[in-house]
Subunit: 471 residues, 2 copies
């Protein structure tokens, strides 16, 4: 019998959902429905209630809604691998600091234009302590989550020079970042890094960037959805090309330190994770509190902008915003301030306290979320024991680590097909094609898994396997 | 001797700052410098430190910065009338509810796509209780302050129909709202309502709107900066024309209920304030917690969108965002969610509790901020006793009320000149020309005035008057 690993993972055509028996050139697979948890009727009813015909290309929000609807209508709980939400309580140092801030009247004062000094200082110190990168407090700007930071960064990057009108996504990535460009009506390019890891990255990026129209490059490490981490060689390439083509490297570190293979949680000491910030003065590090501190509800992220880029002035920004046109001020005052008047005062105090505690070695933020890696390891084993394969499985020659997400594929099934089929077995996920991947598979988020759910999960995956034998 | 009231308030040319003696056709005024609090040197030094040549057209942020700098370098406190910030503590019902939400783990959960049910229900009830307008909970969408709401509203309004590419500002208004359009590169028109109150409004708006390109009309009532309130006749005109030309009336009620002349604080009972929402199904009411609940720090506002508009679908929105294209979902999911992932969970719980308490008659939010009106009354008297006049002084035939802001002019001085001259006397303000006014004068915010500051204020205004005798 084939294991997923031996199967061709790129299938150029879709496995049709209506077929019970699928013939592919090299492989065929039986679809049987005996062990389904939900009947076709039940699922169809729920799709209809959500105005959907099909789940193959459904957004995270739509999958969420269908899964929640089925849970409600049937009373059967789902294994929710769909949304990337914290599954560990928020860091209490933060919530206690927020409560003190609320008691001292912080709710009554507009946030300072570019953030409270305590948070700016703490962010600067954190980037030094855990990345060994120097960014002045004045260049650390809080916003309403990394969502606000990337929107502001894209906007300023695209508006600073009329020649540079395109954002480059090193995919797979977070789809909402592309949606942000729809608001601006801006252009983007992307490529799936799957076939361009390591030494192959430079030529691929050169191909795209030598047109001279790339305003910024955005990528995440650890990666959402695929959980690989860029290595020193890869971030050097990004930094070098950002420098060569005056593009801004926007490094999304939403899952900072959450790669299980290395411990990056000791302040001011080796090892430090790879970062393009070591190789270019054109960087913005997007530090988010949502996952690493389980702080998603309070909506706070911080743009740590290279001092050189922060101070750089652009005539196009000066003209548009009637300012001196510095990049950093544009982000802070002409964009973040203009569309939100800054981010929650209590949240700023809360996160400042967490960052300070981490820098002082009083709070090990890496250890805090380590349980995700344990959940991932167990889930991945259940998947691979049942014929699934990990899609993005390698990282510079060694297996990827465990953490918040992983990707999984099954035989010749497309990602969309797999998402849809798994719904019948009470498991919700998203297709990695929605994240710009050219591979076929799903993203699984481990955050909602609890010990008691593992037997259920195993049972459902086994039922799925029985109904979809790989021959 | 002339009082300000009898002076022509529109002066077509600037009073030059270098002249110590200014001759105008009908009036002249001596500039003497004997009673200044700060010397020219001291102020010039501070301007230079802020990279400014002149204060006449300075933004709020720049005025703030100069005033703060002078306070710091001289140790002499300013009378700060510049920024519109709460000067009353945040409503404790809110901060206590936030603390409970933090204790129950709200920080760890992403906000629901269009807000927590408690807040949506409460906002819907509040709009019914205090405006007698029906908006479903599902059409009430929270965002990071009214800043986020207006940005999202402008964006969706401008993108729904290629023909409608311009926002109309009924000025004077909040300058940052125009800056938001710089981010989008969108067009706007404005007119100063000063000469178009009451029956004259319709013809003026018709003139502008009959081109058919107005996507939305934005205005505030009570007005920032001029504190007039639109009357029933005026909001009817706005509603009627919004309907006629399919433009969206964006009603900014940041200062809701803060007009001293009428008490709008009793739930579910007359009187209800005038609102265009009574005359059109094309409305968005921008409910902000920043001023009425002194909640500026937590960044929360709510878009109360007419149900008809919320549900209306637009092909251009469907195409751009790959959705069904409904106006409300575009605001909630394609814009607010995409650029911020929603607003702070604890703040949503906090404001829900305040709105509920107001609707239940347990918290009189109008009474809560009534002190602003008392401060305004005293300040206005000191101004007018010393030769100043109130610029926007009438409201449909009767004097304007007292509240958070008022406008003041002095003889033939331009607004910019007056801002700059008052700085020498330790008083900071902003020119109403920066708010789109064609009149000459300053906006004074009363929020920072305390009892102990009145003698100081009076002394400084008297010193100013001595140095600037109106002859």
């Amino acid at each position: 019998m084939n294991t997923g690993k031996e199967l061709p993972v790129r299938i150029a055509f879709d496995v049709r959902t209506t077929a019970d028996f699928v013939y592919l050139p090299h492989i065929y697979m039986l679809h049987m429905k005996d062990n389904r948890l939900f009947s076709k009727d039940t699922v169809d009813k729920e799709l209809k209630a959500n105005g959907l015909k099909d789940l193959s290309n459904a957004s995270i929000a739509q999958i969420l809604s269908v899964a929640a609807g089925l849970e409600k209508s049937t009373g059967i709980p789902f294994i929710r691998m769909d949304q990337g939400v914290p599954g560990i309580p928020p860091v209490q140092i933060g919530t206690e600091a927020e409560k003190r801030a609320l008691d001292s009247g912080a709710a009554g004062t507009y946030p300072p234009l570019s953030g409270i000094p305590e948070l700016k200082e703490a962010a600067s110190k954190f980037i030094k302590a855990f990345m060994n990168i120097e960014v002045s407090p004045s260049s650390c700007i809080p916003g309403t989550g990394s969502a606000m930071i990337s929107f502001a960064a894209f906007t300023a990057a695209l508006q600073r020079d009329p020649e540079k009108d395109t954002i480059l996504f090193i995919d797979p990535g977070f789809p909402v970042q592309k949606s942000q460009l729809d608001i601006l009506g801006a252009k983007w390019k992307n490529f799936d890094i799957y076939n361009y890891r390591g030494g192959k990255l430079e030529q691929k990026m050169e191909e795209i960037m030598n047109e001279g129209n790339i305003a910024a490059i955005i990528y995440s490490t650890p990666n959402n959805p695929a959980w690989f981490c860029l290595d020193e060689n890869e971030v050097r390439t990004i930094g070098k090309l950002a420098e060569k083509y005056d593009a801004i490297a926007i490094e999304d570190i939403a899952y900072f330190g959450m790669d299980s293979r290395t411990c990056y949680g000791k302040p001011f000491s080796d090892p430090y994770p790879p970062t393009a910030a070591r190789y270019t003065g054109n960087f913005i590090i997007m530090l988010s509190a949502s996952k690493i501190f389980s702080y998603a509800g309070q909506r706070i992220g911080i743009a740590c902008i290279s001092d050189r880029l922060f101070r750089k002035t652009y005539p196009a920004l000066a003209e548009r915003y009637k300012t001196a046109g510095s990049f950093g001020q544009t982000i802070a005052e002409s964009i973040i301030y203009a569309i939100s008047a800054g981010c929650s005062m209590s949240a700023q105090h809360g996160v400042a306290a967490i960052l300070d505690a981490a820098c002082e070695g009083k709070f090990d933020f890496v250890e805090y979320t380590r349980d995700y890696a344990k959940r991932a390891e167990r889930m991945k084993k259940i998947f691979t024991d049942n014929g699934f394969h990990i899609v993005y499985d390698m990282d510079g020659g060694k297996p990827i680590g465990d953490g918040f997400f992983f990707t999984a594929g099954y035989g010749p099934m497309s990602g969309g097909e797999l998402v849809k089929e798994l719904i019948y077995y009470g498991i919700s996920s998203i297709s990695i094609s929605t994240a710009g991947s050219t591979q076929e598979g799903i993203r699984a988020c481990v955050s909602k898994m609890t010990d008691s759910m593992f037997p259920l999960f195993e049972e459902r995956i086994a039922a799925f396997r029985k109904d979809h034998p790989l021959i």
